[in-house]
Every structure is written in structure tokens, then in C-alpha cells.
Amino acid sequence: MKYEEWSKISRIASKKSLWILHFCTGCGAIEMPPVMTSRFDMERFGMAPMATPRQADVLLITGYLTVKTLKRVIQVYEQMQDPKYVVAFGSCPINGGMYWDSYNTINQLDKYLPVDLYLAGCMPRPEGIINAMMELMEMIEKGEARGWEKYRKNYEKYKKNQEMAFKFGKVEE
């Protein structure tokens, strides 16, 4: 069994059983319960909410991120085990959304975490979330979801950006 077949099987296996971390980081988390429960039931795709980062594969950034949450999100992201994926919901992670001029929210999630997939909608609908998950599955199967490798390679750059955000820019200002 050459390496390609083996990694293909592991990709198909991880595609069919994506475990999502139970962490509502922003206001988009209100559209997760309908997807997780009986009306849309994401478990038929093998997806299940997991309590701890160790067991999770997918980290959902549902909406805006304040600096305080960003610290916890990065801790949780680093605890998750590779291969891990980040999906960003709504307009806030793309370019700041409605809180673009708020002093406490970060505008572009891309500067701090490698994002595998963006999803439009100021609070995407459950159908949108399921579309995004199906898209993520196809990307995993084709091997394009390489966010975690990007994080490993540019680790110092990400860390520098995160530090600047945590200190709210230059301290002496």
C-alpha cells in the first residue's frame, strides 16, 4: 500500500467523521444548535460536537473575535491535533463585519490563524453551514485543506501578529 493510497484512505476517513469543537466564539453560534439537533442533523454526515480540543478536528470561528477570545482560541487551536481545520462563519472574520470600527474586535482572522474556508452571511443559515461543511469535506478529500501545515511553516509570523494584537499595538502609545 503506497503512501498515496494510505493518505487517501486517511483523508476519506477524516472527511466522513469531522468532529467539531463545542466552542461558541461569536454570535454565529446561535445557528449551530439547529444544525446539530433534529431539524438539520449534521450527525448524518458523521459530524459530532466534542467537549475538549484534544478530540476535535474542526474549529469553527462563528462570527467576530474579540482580543480576549482570540487568546483562548489560539490556545485551543494549538491543543488540537493535526490535521485540523478552521472554518470562519459570517462577514466578521473576512473584513471586520459590522464591528469594523470597534476597538476590541480583530478585523481579519487571516492574520492570526490559517483559515481553510470562509462562509458569507451575517449569521449564515443552517443550509449555508451545511454547504460549507460539504465544501470542506470535498477539500479534505482532494487534500487542499492545508491550514495546519501553513500554521506550522509560518509559526513565527503568526505568533508575532498575535502578540501585537494581544498588546493592543504598541504599549508606549
Partner: protein, 379 residues
Amino acid sequence: MKMKEYELFIGPQHPGITGNMMYHLWVDGDTVVKAECNVGYLHRGFEKLMESRTWMQNIPLVCRICVPDPDVNEMAYSMAVERLMGWREEVPERARYIRTVVLELSRIAAYLMGIGSYAGALGIYTLPQWALGDRDYIMDIFEQLTGARIYHIYIWPGGVRWDMPADLPKLIEKTMKYLEKRLKLYDDVFFKNRIFFDRAVDIGVIPKEKAIEWGVTGPNLRASGHEYDVRRLEPYAAYENIDFDVIHYPELGKFDVLSSGGDAYTRMLVRRLEIEQSISIIRQALKKMPSGEHLLKHPNWFKWEVPPGIAYERVESSKGEYGYMVVSDGGKKPVRVHVRGPSYTHGINVAETILKGANIADVSQILFSLDICPPDIER
């Protein structure tokens, strides 16, 4: 032999926490000795943003504060602006009834989510699946009425944005009948369940005499025995000519009173019975709804100046008393908008006092029974 106290973080990433906040517990064996709340994970500085937006631009911003129950914000903000503009009596009658229907539908959706997550904290995963699945039918109603599932941007100062379509009352009536049938099943499976009684009675008690002083409002206050409801104390929308009774501690309808009140058991039953009240309110409102205009004429949105003054309006949300203080100096933008989220007192002072002496297993149950919504606290 005093066990070494160790600290436990019910952190922002934890299924047993309602939303995005953190409790720092000092634990001795199995009981909590001291609890400290750490919030601020969802602080977007709403009030700072509102000061840099005109009166009409604030409406889409305002409804994003409390996520499970968004219409309450739009209503309170719109009432405050109407009060300042002097439109309080001129709001069309039909708009008042549509607002009542929207608020009650939003309350049922928030209660279903509250009951579902509480039952999940107790360990029965059937009820969250049912409750949140049935909540989705109400989201379908909102989508056809307002054009969006969660953030409706539908209640404007002076009325409602669009009129209610003709075929919607039929759909609302059908959904209400469906919900009533489902509520009977919830009672059999959870509310009359022996283990719910074992786990929830006399847990996290808010004593009746201390409840008002701690600033407890809403279902938690009514569960402690006070018969106070903002819809009855300061009627708004169309609540004067709709009769509903305020559920509070001693009268729990068909459920037997098993505790001294103010505990998690009574709080959940008050929420459960208020769903039935909301269903009957919606039916009466739909029956009595007159025809007519649904929105007052707005001045030009770019040059809209609200006369100076300070106004405070309160609305009964599913979490408690939701208040908006709006201060205007006659300019195009509000000088100050201060939001009184009901979970401000429930989440910090009340939770820290009643978590003392609780068992670790009951910490998440108490927090869910208080139905704390963290964006209320830090806006």
C-alpha cells in the same frame, strides 16, 4: 482534615457554560468554596459604536446584542426613540399587535433554547434535540414575516417595517398547535421525570426576600415568589388589552410544588408554563389585530434629529428586564445608549453567591437554570 483547595476553570470553551464566559471555581473536594466570574469575551463596545452611528443606523446594530432573544433590543430601542420623539401614542394599533406577536414568538424560541440547554446540562440529550428542533419552526415563521431567521431588523421606531402577510396567521396557528402537542411530550419525558426532581429541587436557591435586592428580574424573580412582570407593571405594545396571568412560585399549574421556591426546579417550571401563556397571547393578538397603517412616516434618515432628553424604556425579555437608556442632545447621533442586560446581575453577583456550597455536578445546571446570556453582561 481540610482537603487542599484546588482551582477549576469552567472556561469559555466548555459545553457546560451558557455562551462565552468563564467561572473560576475554588473547589474543596466536591463542593465549590468560592466562585469568581470572568466575562468580556464578547465585548464589542456596542455603546461606543452606537455613539458614532445615526439613529436609523443603530437599528441593525442594536438587535445583535442578545442573540437568543433579539427582538427585545429592537423593541426597547424603538420605544425609547418613540418616547423621545413624542410618537408614543401615535404608533399605529396594528403595529402594536404585530410587535406583540413578534415578541412572544421570540420569547417562545428563547425559552425552548433555554429548556433544551438546561436539559442537556442535566444529561438527558433527548430534550435538547426536540426543543431546538421545534424552535426551528418558529424561525421559519420569522423568515416569512421579517426576511431573516435571527436578526429581524423588523421593529422600527414608529411601527414595524412591513405588514404581516395574509397567509402567515394560518401558519402561526398551525405551529402553535404543533408546539402544544409537543409540550405534553416534554412534560412526560422531562418535567415529570423522577430524576429531574431528585437533581433540581433545592439547588441554587434565590431566597424570596433577597431576590429584589440582588436585582433579579424576569422568570428567576417570579420563580422566587414575586408576582412581577414588566408586561403587567408597565404595559407596552398591546399588552393592556390582552389578558394573561403571571406565573409565579406558589401557583405552578399542573406541576406539584415540591420545594420552597427560587430553586432550579421552579425556575424551569416557570419557563415551561410561560410558553403556554405566550401561545395564548399570540392567539389573542392574532384575533384582535385591527387593520390599518403599520409604520409612521419617518423623517429623512440622513437629517433625522431626535429632540434632546433622556428616556428609559424596559421590556420583559426571556432573561429578565431589558432596559434601554437613550440620551440625546438634539443631534443626529445619540449621546449615550446604555443597555441594562438582565444577565448583568444574574451572571455575576447572583451566580457567584448561589454557586458557593454547590456541588461541582450542579454548577452547569445552576448556570443554565439562570439562563445567563453573556452578551447582555458585556455588550
